[in-house]
């Protein structure tokens, strides 16, 4: 079971002579196998939080637990899959070779078959294609397949579809839910989109900026599997409004 527990975490970066505090007093737990969305204005430190879980850098204070150990141990035992905002593919490798990369680095057999993963993300027939021959959406599918190659217990996604158009994005979100359900990983998604957060997540964590703090945690009690018609549901809209109110506070009140 891979629960992610973050307690008393803050993170500061030195900037020139000064210092900026990106995160302060973060206290959250992501239950095992859950899907959590992190949402907040620019500068609220949501990408930083994701990178702390991935052990890209350590927290300034506080502690993070991924499953039974720290983020570093989780990373070193290849339990973390990370999807960046850019596809971040190696242009000299074709699709399957890109998907196989994590296994190659870990020097173990892929825990999931790269060809099957390519099919899973809807790229059957493109195994031999180079990234430059694919559209942005297709490249991002490859990045997701790569993140799943070692069957990670934790799937971290930093605005993975931020650069895609709305239509592609909706379709990718549906597929992502299907893939996540099938993988059983604990997923954390950073997003700028309120409807995306509500549609995808069990829990929406709303962050406020300067420094980044958790301003509200909203559980989304909507049935799965979720389909696009859910967006017409009144409950969906009321969750969206809750998130919106948490983000904009007093600005949301109707002026008298």
């Amino acid at each position: 079971m891979t629960e992610i527990a973050i307690s008393g975490v803050s993170k500061s970066f030195s900037l020139g002579k000064g210092e900026i505090q990106a995160l302060a007093d973060i206290e959250i737990t992501f239950p095992s196998g859950s899907f959590t969305a992190l949402i907040g204005p620019s500068g609220c430190g949501k990408s930083t939080l994701l990178r702390l879980i991935a052990d890209v850098f350590p927290p300034t204070t506080g502690s993070i637990r991924v499953g039974d150990h720290g983020p570093d141990a989780a990373r070193l035992s290849h339990e973390i899959g990370f999807v960046f905002q850019d596809p971040t593919l190696l242009p000299w490798r074709n699709v399957v070779e890109n998907v196989r990369l994590p296994a190659e680095v870990a020097k173990i057999a892929p825990r999931r078959d790269p060809a099957a993963l390519t099919t899973l993300v809807g790229l059957a027939g493109f195994e031999e294609a180079r990234p430059s021959q694919l559209s942005g959406g297709m490249q991002q599918r490859v990045a997701i397949a790569r993140a799943l190659a070692l069957d990670p217990k934790v799937l971290l996604m930093d605005e993975p579809f931020g650069a895609l158009d709305e239509i592609t994005r909706q379709r990718m979100n549906m597929e992502l839910l299907r893939i996540w359900k099938e993988s059983g990983a604990t997923a954390v998604l950073v997003t700028h989109s309120i409807s995306e957060a509500v549609f995808m997540a069990d829990t929406v964590v709303v962050l406020s900026a300067n420094p980044g703090r958790v301003s509200e945690v909203i559980s989304v009690d909507l049935p799965r599997p979720r389909r696009l018609d859910l967006m017409r549901d009144a409950r969906f809209n009321s969750y969206e409004n809750k998130v919106r109110e948490a983000l904009f506070g007093d600005d949301m009140k109707v002026p008298a």
């Binding site: 991935a54 070193l76 290849h78 000299w92 180079r130 959406g137």
Partner: protein
């Protein structure tokens, strides 16, 4: 590129070349050109008589240029790894490179003549100095040419140093290395030529000077055409190699399609 596309991009410049040569030929026949500008046919006409001579001198130049080029490439690789492995070493090393690059070779040449005398050691040294800076710059830029998310990806995948070098740094530096190699090749030839002008028995530089002093105009032109041909050949060879090896599209790490 499709064959038709290749033809479309090659045809206009080729047509201009042919037209220019024809124009020169006609202008010469009409007597519009000075005695110092021969007709292309006159240059071609001296090839049979000069062939052995040309091969002999071109061989000397090519050898010096190649050795200088390889020495420069080794020095560039060594200095680039030093620049990248020590914190703060990059700026002074690159500044030194710029300094060497903008010192006029012709000012250095006489000093090297005193130090190492005339002969192939001199030609190789000057060829190396002449082609050094682009190689250094290309190597440093190449090994820095990875973006932040790719580096983070390798960190999250827990890649070790060797894997980062082999799977990331080396492939992503290749486009830069090839670009630098293409720029440096003609420079190595030019450096050799300048060194040979300081006084040489063998080499295209010597051949030009002989022809110049004996006012053998077609041979001067022939020699210079040969140098340009060698340089274009070196460039083309590297470009061909590049096309074979760097075959993953124009951009580095691909963005949004």
């Amino acid at each position: 590129m499709t064959p038709a596309g290749t033809l479309r991009s090659i045809a206009p410049p080729a047509a201009v070349m042919v037209a220019l040569l024809a124009l020169m030929e006609i202008a010469k026949a009409a007597g519009w050109l000075p005695i110092t500008v021969p007709a292309p046919s006159q240059v071609v006409a001296v090839i049979p008589a000069q062939w052995d001579n040309l091969v002999y001198h071109a061989g000397g130049t090519l050898r010096s240029a190649l050795l200088g080029y390889f020495a420069a490439a080794c020095a560039a690789l060594a200095l680039a790894s030093l620049a990248l492995s020590r914190e703060g070493a990059e700026r002074p090393i690159l500044s030194l490179g710029v300094l060497i690059d903008c010192v006029p070779l012709i000012a250095l040449a006489p000093i090297f003549v005193i130090w190492i005398g005339q002969g192939s050691a001199l030609y190789i040294t000057i060829a190396g100095i002449s082609s050094f800076f682009p190689l250094l710059l290309g190597t440093v830029q190449g090994f820095k040419a990875t973006d932040r998310s790719t580096r983070e990806l390798f960190h999250v995948m827990a890649a070790n140093r060797w894997q980062r070098l082999r799977l990331l740094a080396v492939p992503s530096s290749l486009p830069y290395l090839f670009a630098a190699m293409k720029v440096a090749a003609p420079l190595a030839l030019l450096g050799t030529l300048i060194a040979e002008w300081m006084g040489a028995e063998r080499g295209l530089g010597a051949m030009i000077l002989y022809a110049l002093f004996s006012f053998n105009v077609p041979v001067v032109w022939l020699t210079i055409v040969t140098i340009c041909g060698l340089s274009a050949g070196a460039y083309g060879l590297i470009a061909l190699l590049e096309a074979r090896i760097v075959n993953w599209g124009p951009k580095g790490v691909s963005g949004h399609g």
